[in-house]
Symmetry: C2
Subunit: 438 residues, 2 copies
């Protein structure tokens, strides 16, 4: 019996170098989330289809992996982390305000175009149970800090306010068309002005030009805010004040992010009701928003009588990885190892591992090679490929430490002395990441 | 429309305190894997059913979540990490020997008994592409080190050799019944001597007593080894030598684990061919093996023409968590936060976050509270619940730092001075884990 080893379309394996890169990014993001006081949660990959698709239908339903389990239950794989979070909040009494992050896989049977996978990792972070500018601002600051931590260069965070936009549509008398208008407006960057104008004219007739004037407002934050507030009328004042506060907080916090008020940002999804965010890398705007989100005010509404207001965003991990590659950051790390112990005699693995343990106990990652080679040089080459900085060769009671970069050897009477020499040579986990030993 | 927020039977949410505990264990295990030079990989949750069930059928098939996707493909959720690894190895050219770890969820539609979940996390680590005592020993040492790193107290690692056992069965002339015999023997601890003897007698007649004598051998490693080697006959010598080397390496490496040669350990699974391991906590043997594995010599055989020998084990994360609770280790950590900034005025979030950023930049996790309270004391209580050690109250240009344990306050003219005071007070991420501030 032979089975061809194939993988499903739209799915992929993660080889060590890719997985090390991905984990590196996730660890940085997670450290950041924790530093803001956010706590992790997890939910099942599989849920009742009714729970996941309650609001859904349409586009979502077509993409979902849905089936009947062995117990006859109608189940589905989660397609995002927001719907399970809503169910989670309705089911558990969490202390409010509640700041949570959730980094996990989701599945969508989308057409597997370039860069679109059917299995991908989402990194969501939300504050729920409070509706004020402090919450909106915290998410904004976290987006800014996350991009800094990931070292992807300068970025521009574009914000807008869905409530203000809706107020404007109400004033124009086209509020009942808001869903269609939002969908059309959301495509501005993709399909261009002409196509949006055509679509809008079909939908709202003469109001189309005014809507375009609104969403195309450009300039300083204060100026755009003044213009769209005036267009939206008096009832929009409360939303305008929220945006003004956000802008003020950025300055007070000495945040360096470039914050732009862009009325064309609407985030197609229906559930946003307040501030919305999209984030573009200045060096690579064409890959689209790498971190998006916004405020919603009825998170758990489907599963609970109490509406819960919240604000959050999601880091586009796969886009950021693609960005790092496009920006020419090479994926160099092939392991986490600092020191490699050579294999000279297969009867000596106990001694090799004893020496290796002394490195590990000192925080130095140390691998014992498991195969003898005809020439020791082959083991040097292998160690270098792994990205190690040093090699230990044990022979006749002597530990020889080889600096794989300078090719200098130094001998010691004990493993402890070799560990000391490596430590004084400044090996630290972080150093390797900085390519000091690459 | 209202949907009852319910979760599938055998599945569960992970609330922050449980998730923080779990991530803490995973981070320790992962640090250990990396320190041995192991690299991470990942594979899809969903694969062709043919790939996952190729060898399977029977018990496995009944438990698998299998369905037809929207493209008409026969697919299934992975039920372990070994089968996907075999497919991975057949599909990718990885440098051998290859040392990998894989920490990921798997799904089995098992009867949801006590402690049995349908979704759980596996932590697998394997060395493939080399068949020597050095590989067997490395896995043994990693089991020992992992349990030390997790702080679950003393453990006993029980080993045996499937090749030696099979040689013994061959000598008895019952080798064609080895599958049934292995299944029966594997149940010794669970069902007792009588039931096993009865089953064996039905299967192999008069050989039953001899098999029981073999598997019940007890005593010093050397003595048990001498006895079972003699029982298995001359052809078992090579396997006996492998076990003797393992024992020697443990001494050479000054490993402290209690290593027992236990011929009743067979690991029911068919694919093991060499050394097998099970690990029991001395303080809690009744929960069963918390880390098991062994050597197999045809990992990718189903998907490739080349047989690949390997050895590995799997850490039973859920059992270890249950063990920590049973051993009375309280789950105390409710967040990662060290310092909390009070909310005195909702117009000041920019200033609060600016101060918080200075703590974060110094490696101190700092959360800004988002809601004013009628009394400040309520915010102290909230900060304590989060497990924070300090609170910062900003008022009229002055930063007051409150030690939440001693309830002492100290005032500073700048956030930087408050950061310095906290750092000199020795706040470190690790300290909280040691309950220094609980």
């Amino acid at each position: 019996m032979f089975i061809e080893p194939k993988i499903l379309k739209g799915f992929r394996d993660s080889l060590p170098s890719a997985e090390i890169e991905k984990r590196g990014l996730i660890e940085k993001i997670e450290t950041l989330f924790r530093s803001f006081g956010f706590v992790p949660i997890d939910t099942p990959a599989l849920e009742y289809a009714e729970i996941l698709l309650g609001k859904g239908g349409g586009e979502t339903e077509k993409q979902v992996y849905r089936f009947t389990d062995n117990g006859g239950r109608d189940v589905a794989l989660r397609f995002d982390l927001t719907v399970p979070f809503a169910r989670f909040v309705a089911e558990h009494r969490v202390p409010m305000p509640f700041k949570r992050y959730h980094i996990a896989k989701v599945w969508r049977g989308e057409n597997a175009q370039r860069g679109r996978y059917r299995e991908f990792t989402q990194c969501d972070f939300d504050v729920i149970g409070v509706d004020n500018a402090g919450g909106d601002f915290e998410i904004l600051l976290m987006i800014d800090s996350a991009l800094k931590a990931l070292g992807v260069g300068d970025a521009t965070i574009r914000v807008n306010h869905r409530g203000l936009f809706n107020q404007f549509l109400t004033r124009l008398g086209v509020q009942e068309k808001s869903g269609e208008v939002l969908h059309l407006v959301d495509k501005l960057a993709k399909v261009g002005r002409g196509a949006v104008l055509e679509g809008l004219t079909k939908t709202v007739g003469g109001a189309a030009e005014k809507i375009l004037d609104f969403i195309e407002s450009k300039g300083r934050f204060e100026d755009v805010l003044a213009k769209i507030t005036e267009m939206a009328g008096e009832k929009a004042t409360v939303h305008a004040e929220r945006l003004a506060l956000l802008h003020k907080f950025m300055k007070d916090a000495e945040a360096s992010a470039s914050l732009v008020l862009d009325p064309s940002i609407t985030r197609g999804l229906d559930y946003y009701t307040g501030v919305v965010y999209e984030t573009f890398l200045n060096g690579l705007p064409e890959i689209g928003s790498v971190c998006s989100g916004g405020r919603y005010d009825d998170l758990a509404g489907l599963y609970s009588k109490e509406g819960v207001s919240g604000v959050g965003a999601s880091v586009g991990l796969d886009r950021l990885i693609a960005a790092q590659e496009a920006l020419g950051k090479p994926r160099t790390q092939s392991s986490y190892v600092h020191v490699v112990v050579a294999c000279m005699d297969e009867a000596m693995f106990g001694v090799y591992q004893n020496a290796a343990r002394k490195f590990r106990d000192a925080g130095v990652n140390c691998e014992v090679l498991l195969k003898k080679t005809d020439k020791l040089a082959k083991q040097y080459i292998l160690a270098e490929k792994k990205g190690a900085a040093w090699m230990v060769v044990y022979n006749g009671g002597v530990f020889t430490l080889r600096n794989l970069k300078t090719r200098e050897n130094k001998s010691f009477q004990s493993a402890e002395e070799a560990v000391k020499a490596v430590l004084s040579g400044g090996v630290e986990r972080e150093l390797r990441k900085n390519d000091a030993f690459s």
